[in-house]
């Protein structure tokens, strides 16, 4: 075929880039949820990784206990995770808004331990396989590489969700309320908008995104109680690099870092686990507010 690119067979290079793009899709979906939640609640949702895992597990349980397949799970699992989010926000998080933001982080850290510990207790640490839906099995030859259909679908789906969320927040009336309430909740409340309910729904939406990411991830990675616990830390680094300021920034940084991680796997595999953290350190030295962030 084409020979090699920088001494690397193109199959391997594109294969890793695709893997990077897939990882980037999950980074983007998760950091998008984190950014939306942080914007409205000023809470860094440490439980995000656990709720992502929960989404995957709900899909797996739906399939194995009730025989409900992937496409319905794609709708139902985020709703269940979102509903769980409503309960969490109403009963626990809402008590902390007047306190230092760090308490929100500590509370959600505790929640992450509980959710992960409970699933681990129930299902053990070994991963459960989740089959790729029949419609998306197989793959296609793109000439320069082989693309499994399901992976292509994940990239497309996450792009649609990210762009859709961005449009909803930046271009619609509801999004305008949301942004206004982020800037000045008291004033927006005075205009007759139910801000506490908006806060609850924002949290539910953010964690539903995590649940959706979990369902998307289920056929690619094994469904395991620990699948979110490392991911959430990488996503934190992504959020620090991108800066919490903009939705678009969170998404772009997510994809970009996923690709960069894929490239590292090709050229220097030993560093692929830490490259995101190294980049975070460099960005902090050069531009502490993050690539897309505003200095507050």
């Amino acid at each position: 075929m084409m020979g090699t690119i920088f001494g690397i067979p193109p199959q391997a290079l594109f294969g890793q880039l695709l893997l990077g793009l897939i990882n980037g899709s999950f980074y983007a979906l998760l950091s998008l949820g984190l950014a939306v939640i942080f914007g409205m609640l000023n809470v860094i949702n440490f439980a995000h990784g656990a709720l992502y895992m929960m989404g995957a597990f709900v899909a797996w349980l739906l399939l194995n206990q009730l025989g409900i397949g992937y496409w319905w799970a794609l709708l139902v699992a985020p709703l269940i995770v979102g509903a769980f989010g409503v309960v969490l926000e109403k009963t626990l998080l809402s008590r902390l808004y007047k306190l230092d933001h760090l308490y929100g982080l500590l509370l959600t850290f505790g929640l992450a331990l509980i959710v992960e510990g409970a699933f681990r207790h129930q299902y053990g640490v070994s991963g459960q396989p989740y089959p790729i839906p029949a419609e998306l099995s197989g793959g296609r030859n793109l000439g320069f590489m082989f693309l499994p259909n399901y992976r292509g679908w994940v990239v497309v789906a996450s792009l649609i969700v990210c762009i859709g969320t961005w449009i909803a927040i930046e271009k619609t009336k509801l999004g305008a309320y949301l942004r206004a309430a982020t800037e000045n909740p008291v004033l927006v409340q005075a205009f007759g908008i139910n801000v506490p309910r908006m806060v609850t729904l924002t949290y539910a939406f953010g964690v539903a995104l995590a649940g959706l990411a979990g369902v998307l991830a289920a056929p690619i990675y094994q469904v395991s109680p620990l699948m979110g616990s490392h991911l959430i830390i990488v996503v934190f680094a992504v959020v620090v690099i991108g800066g919490m300021g903009s939705i678009l920034g969170a998404v772009l940084t997510g994809y970009g870092l996923g690709l960069l991680e894929g490239l590292t796997k090709v050229f220097y595999p030993e560093a692929s686990n830490i490259v995101v953290f190294v980049i975070m350190a460099v960005v902090l030295m050069v531009k502490p507010a993050g690539l897309f962030g505003r200095e507050r």
Binding site: L92, D100, L102, L105, L106, V234, V240, F277, P288
Partner: protein, 332 residues
């Protein structure tokens, strides 16, 4: 706004004269009683358990120096604790160093790592600071997983305890216990001294209002960095000692769960109090010992305590006691 507002009462009570002197002597007597108890307790309880409590108590005190007195929530303190454990274990086992030099080198490793982390992390505040320290410590976790000298999943096992100063054979449980007690008391004394020094006062000022401290001419970044390095060194001291006690350095010591555990110990005991982290560490270690014998999932219980502390018990045990029985503090 900061996480806590205790520990400001003591100084004012001292200035008040009469009753304060009584309080002070009472405190001295109390300290002596506690010290006597610490000396006697290995005859009553299992020394390994006590040494574990002391190591974690020092670790929690080191962490508390940063959050309780500097207002900086580090979510990556396991990196210092665990790296120091690895360095100490390696120096003692592979190079045949004596335990005191091994622990010293581990402490130094904690300090150097603290300097590196600190320079990066203090560029942001609050939540970002927590996330950055967490991410950096995860990097250390991966390094520990991949570097040859840490032996990956196995860790460094069968570390010889050695002979302290060439005099005391640490394989004797009592000698080991009193050594750990000595290390803990030194660490605690350093923290006590720091908190009550002008440096500690400036730290508290930064915690309460950083912009104001800057306007008063303090170079707050330097204070924060120094506090960070000091805290990391003491965490390293705790980690190195732990490696000698348990003759083991493993990946568990560098995980984010470990960082979370030390946060919990401090939160439960009382952030910003001197004795709180010690109480918290003792409780959490006891609880984990107890839970290990039951079928209850440890992380779930720990998580529930976390949530309960954050929701209804933010002052922690020592903070709650100080608020109810101790000196009345001004304001809230």
């Amino acid at each position: 706004m900061s996480l806590h507002s205790q520990s400001s009462g003591r100084a004012s009570a001292q200035a008040a004269g009469g009753p304060a002197t009584v309080g002070l002597t009472l405190a001295k007597v109390g300290a002596l009683v506690v010290l006597a108890a610490l000396l006697a307790v290995p005859f009553l309880l299992y020394p390994v358990f006590l040494m574990k409590v002391l190591c974690f108590a020092l670790f929690a005190c080191a962490f508390n120096l940063l959050i309780g007195f500097g207002g900086l929530l580090s979510f990556g303190h396991a990196a210092f604790f665990g790296s120091a454990a690895y360095v100490t274990a390696h120096a003692v086992k592979e190079w045949g160093w004596s335990p005191e030099l091994g622990v010293l080198l581990g402490t130094l490793a904690g300090a150097v790592l603290g300097l590196l982390f600190g320079m990066i992390a203090i560029r942001r505040q609050g939540i970002y600071f927590a996330m950055i320290t967490l991410a950096l410590s995860q990097m250390v976790y991966f390094l520990a997983l991949q570097l040859p000298f840490t032996h990956g999943e196995d860790g460094i096992q069968a570390v010889p305890r050695g002979v302290l100063f060439g005099l005391f054979d640490l394989h004797n449980p009592l000698a080991m216990y009193y050594t750990v007690l000595g290390v803990f008391l030194i660490g605690f004394a350093i923290i006590w001294r720091t908190v009550h020094s002008p440096f500690g006062q400036v730290l508290k000022a930064i915690r309460e209002n950083e912009a104001r401290a800057i306007s008063l001419g303090y170079r707050t970044d330097r204070y924060k960095l120094l506090a960070f390095v000091l805290s990391a060194s003491l965490a390293g001291l705790a980690g190195g000692t732990k490696a000698i006690v348990f003759q083991l350095a493993t990946l568990t010591d560098v995980t984010w769960q470990m960082s979370g555990e030390v946060v919990l110990m401090t939160l439960l005991g009382g952030m910003g109090t001197l004795t709180g982290p010690v109480i918290g560490a003792a409780l959490v270690v006891t609880l984990e010992n107890y839970l290990a014998a039951t079928s209850l999932p440890v992380p779930v219980v720990i998580g529930c305590i976390f949530v309960a502390c954050v929701l209804v018990f933010r002052r922690g045990i020592a903070g709650e006691i100080a608020a109810r029985f101790g000196n009345q503090k001004q304001g809230s």
